[in-house]
């Protein structure tokens, strides 16, 4: 029996560590197009203390540590490119505290989006968090690590802007806290202490987040989705701009897709509206659809398709089944909203070149400060040719995102290289120094953000 395995068993117990081919196989795969790489060990710790010991062991042995949440980020971000210890963090899934009055939830890193949603619905119906459209198994920590965005991105921004505090195990095995919690106060604010930018957006290369204090927001009694459609992509940016001016809505997304063919080339807005009373709802619908979007409706440029009560749980993974193929991956970008028409047109061309039905989506971030624009490419997991096509389309789209003046959101290795090539050299050098300082042995999620 190898000594690392034995040491890991000592730390987490025999049932939570494996070097068996089945676990190594499963944890080698991302759900998207990234080639698999096997870890040497799969470990499912339960506490920050266990993680601390694992990290210390990894430093001693100079072997990689790759944190994994829901594994749903789709860009190969938790593929153990250089082997080592794959840390499945989903056993750390306690909701530690919900502070109703200060509106935050303190959760362990492996708490899933679905669990937090269900918990709040049941125990704190006046509160909600900004839930991403990812499958509910996505974790809170995995989402903030990659600067995710949820259904409150319009009023409140990126999910990583909603952090009140973090607990992190550093790559050298210290457990640190950031925010008001670090001075023994509650987990109610991140500022004004030195910030935690060292851990967000780094895809687990600078440490393992073990606790997150996440801001919660008022959950109104009535929540629902209104639909609005335009047939001209050039109108989309101003529609976004005008809706955000009303400050009456929660989430705003525009989508366009080739399937079903009858609505191909149309641009569907999904606009989430919340209200505590019928009066408030009526008022908001009137402001948004009569006063603001009425002009498009009257001119015949846009159509109001109605308001449906209740927020349907996203089931975007259905995208994977379009061609009964079991797979898709998307490039996400953070982009000025005015680029919507170009993003759409150029993305459609890429899809057509690769014989993939096009799917694009834009979500408003902040008060139209930016959008997350994504291009999705479905593939058939059983057909390597289609995977190759999707991979090529993704790479072309990474290039496109930068060409159009955006940044790539949660880039995979290819996109990371493109971003680093464009990065201000001093910034890149600072990143390298930070990484060297925090992770002298280079054990954390190697391959990612390797600024040479």
């Amino acid at each position: 029996m190898d000594s690392v395995y034995e040491a890991l068993v000592e730390i987490v117990g025999p049932e939570h560590v494996s070097s068996q081919p089945e676990e190594l196989f499963i944890y080698s795969w991302d759900l998207g197009t990234t080639e698999p790489h096997r870890p040497d060990y799969a470990v499912a710790p339960r506490t920050a203390e266990e993680i601390r010991k694992i990290v210390q062991l990894a430093n001693k042995e100079k072997i990689p540590v790759v944190p994994l949440g829901g594994g749903l980020s789709l860009a190969g971000l938790a593929v153990p490119f250089k082997g080592g210890i794959l840390l499945d963090l989903k056993r750390m899934d306690d909701i530690i505290e919900v502070n109703e009055r200060a509106r935050y939830a303190l959760v362990e890193c492996g708490v899933s989006q679905g669990k937090l949603t269900a918990y709040l619905e049941r125990h704190h119906p006046h509160l909600t968090h900004s839930e991403p459209g990812a499958p509910p198994a996505a974790t809170i920590a995995g989402n903030v690590v990659i600067h995710g965005q949820g259904d409150l991105a319009h009023p409140y921004g990126f999910n990583s802007d909603m952090i009140n505090g973090l607990e992190v195990v550093t790559p050298t095995g210290e457990i640190c806290q950031f925010g008001s919690c670090a001075i023994g106060a509650g987990w109610f604010t991140l500022h004004p202490l030195p910030d935690v930018g060292l851990f967000l957006g780094w895809t687990g290369t600078t440490g393992i987040i073990t606790k997150v204090s996440l801001r919660l927001f008022p959950c109104k009694k009535i929540r629902g989705m209104a639909q609005f459609v335009v047939d001209d992509e050039d109108l989309v940016p101003e529609v976004f701009y005008k809706i955000t001016h009303t400050q009456m809505v929660e989430d705003i997304m525009a989508t366009s897709q080739a399937i079903p063919p009858f609505s191909s080339e149309l641009h569907h807005f999904t606009i989430n509206i919340a209200a505590d009373s019928e009066k408030e709802l009526e008022f908001k619908l009137e402001i948004v659809f009569d006063d603001t979007l009425g002009e498009y409706i009257h001119k015949g440029d846009g159509g109001y398709l109605g308001f449906i009560r209740g927020l349907e749980r996203p089931q975007l993974s259905k995208t994977s089944d379009w061609r009964k193929g079991g797979g898709f991956e998307y490039v996400g970008s953070i982009m000025p909203i005015e680029q919507y028409p170009e993003c759409y047109r150029r993305g459609k061309e890429i899809s057509e070149r690769h014989d993939i039905p096009y799917t694009v989506l834009a979500r408003c971030i902040g008060t139209a400060h930016a959008m997350m624009f994504s291009w999705t490419y479905a593939f058939n997991r059983a057909d390597p040719k289609t995977i190759e096509h999707a991979r090529e389309a993704l790479h072309e789209t990474d290039d496109l995102a930068l060409e159009l003046g955006g940044t790539i959101w949660k880039p995979g290795l290819y996109g990371q290289r493109l971003v680093m090539e464009k990065l201000n050299p001093n910034t890149l050098e600072l990143m390298r120094k930070i990484k060297q300082l925090l992770d002298p042995n280079g054990i954390m999620n190697p391959g990612n953000w390797e600024a040479q």
Binding site: E15, H16, S18, Q20, P21, E22, E23, F25, I26, Y27, W29, L31, A42, A44, G70, G71, L72, D88, K90, R91, D93, S112, G114, K115, T117, A118, Y119, E121, R122, P135, P136, A137, R313, Q315, S317, K318, S320, D321, K324, G325, G326, G327, F328, N380, R381, A382
Partner: protein, 395 residues
């Protein structure tokens, strides 16, 4: 040896995206509603893990190992995954897992306990390996009549016939049916295994033999209506036997008792004081959509305060006993075992009785109550026993 191309679901199995919806109950309370994943919390033990591993195995990307077999046979066939997967192939998820188990059976590469389970059934007609001659022992002193053309055949099944604790519920139900004046008979030592769990283990050949033998016997005896103690037998007779020309009217006993009570043919007015919660058995609930009969019975009993478990009906967490696991017990031995999780959930409701309607759930959950040291807080009782008490048959 079968390759992916020859696998019945070879053109479907790659459609699993491994998105993990199938780990959840309906309302997303937690990721522990696949009992095997709840127990081991490694992706391999999730439904998606099983599908990806099966595909890899049939494509020669991984070899068969004892660990792989453990992963596959730890699936309890609870159907939570099918209920939650948003993709249209979801109707075949369990068929795929069962077919993979079947392929292992075919290749003779199954875990020793599974082999023992199947061999016992083949040789003795029950998983315990107890002589067939003892199958009727539960009847001793009961005075129940053998089936001779009565309205109902009361089919007890292996667990109710052999397991000491389950025999008590087999007897309780016999007494209740008797009290209600139902015309029924039993097969006693002549009864065979219904084969439901053999089928879930993927041993199609043996299942066919068992089903055909039972069907022939039922037909010889002129059986038209069957009432079963176990939801597992109910499922096999209702959904599988028709494929072998075995068309019988079959009821789970809770369905019959609910009719008897609502028609005024069973007097439960004696009642008793208790706070009762109910664990939905997978083979009644998710497999057959029967969620109401048990609840209506419990709510009709004077003195009973009925409390729902948080995860109920379609969202119920399996006890961990299906797919032969009540015998092979691949999910036992840990506070994370589904039976122990379920018992803790039941305790949290404040109930002092956890009602079940299945001998397998009874065994699994009663053992879990002991492991959790909750004996003085909550007891596991089958609805047959609860009704027997409400009728004044037992104290």
């Amino acid at each position: 040896m079968m390759a992916l191309a020859d696998f019945e679901y070879g053109d479907t199995i790659h459609r699993c995206f491994r998105c993990g919806y199938c780990k959840f109950p309906v309302d997303w309370t937690d990721v522990n509603n696949c009992p095997a994943y709840a127990r081991y919390r490694m992706e391999t033990y999730s439904c998606g893990g099983r599908l990806w591993l099966t595909r890899a195995w049939l494509s020669d990307e991984i070899d068969w190992t004892a660990h792989f077999a453990h992963i596959m046979f730890s699936c309890t066939a609870c159907k939570n995954c099918e209920a939650k997967c948003p993709l249209s192939f979801n109707v075949d998820i369990l068929n795929m897992i069962t077919a993979a188990k079947g392929e292992m059976v075919e290749r003779g590469t199954i875990p020793p306990l599974v082999k023992e389970f199947l061999e016992n059934i083949q040789r003795h007609g029950n998983p315990y390996g107890t002589p067939k001659a003892k199958r009727g022992d539960w009847l001793d002193g009961m005075g129940l009549k053998p089936y001779q053309g009565q309205d109902y055949l009361y089919y007890v099944g292996c667990i109710g016939s052999y397991d000491t604790r389950a025999q008590e519920i087999a007897r309780a139900l016999g007494a209740v049916l008797d009290r209600a004046g139902v015309s029924f008979g039993v097969l006693g030592v002549e009864e065979g295994c219904d084969g439901n769990d053999v089928n879930m283990i993927g041993e199609q050949g043996l299942f066919e033999v068992l089903a055909e033998d039972n069907i022939a016997q039922f037909k010889d005896l002129g059986v038209h209506r069957i009432v079963t103690l176990s939801p597992h037998a109910y499922n096999a007779i209702k959904n599988e036997y028709p494929c072998y020309e075995g068309d019988f009217e079959v009821l789970h006993y809770t369905q019959l008792l609910q009719c008897l009570i609502s028609d005024g043919d069973l007097d439960i007015s004696k009642g008793f004081e208790a706070r009762v919660t109910f664990h939905d058995p997978c083979f009644l609930g998710r497999w057959n959509g029967e969620y109401e009969a048990s609840r209506e019975i419990l709510q009709a009993i004077p003195g009973v305060t009925f409390i729902e478990l948080e995860k109920n009906r379609e969202s119920a967490l399996c006890c961990g006993g299906g797919g032969g696991n009540f015998y092979i017990d691949f999910l036992g031995g840990s506070p994370d075992s589904p039976s122990r999780r379920r018992v803790r959930e039941a305790h949290e409701t404040g109930a002092n009785i956890l009602a079940v309607a299945c001998p397998s759930c009874l065994n699994m959950l009663e053992d879990a109550v002991k492991s959790e040291e909750l004996e003085d807080k909550i007891s596991v009782q089958d609805i047959s026993e609860i009704v027997a008490k409400a009728c004044g048959i037992t104290a």
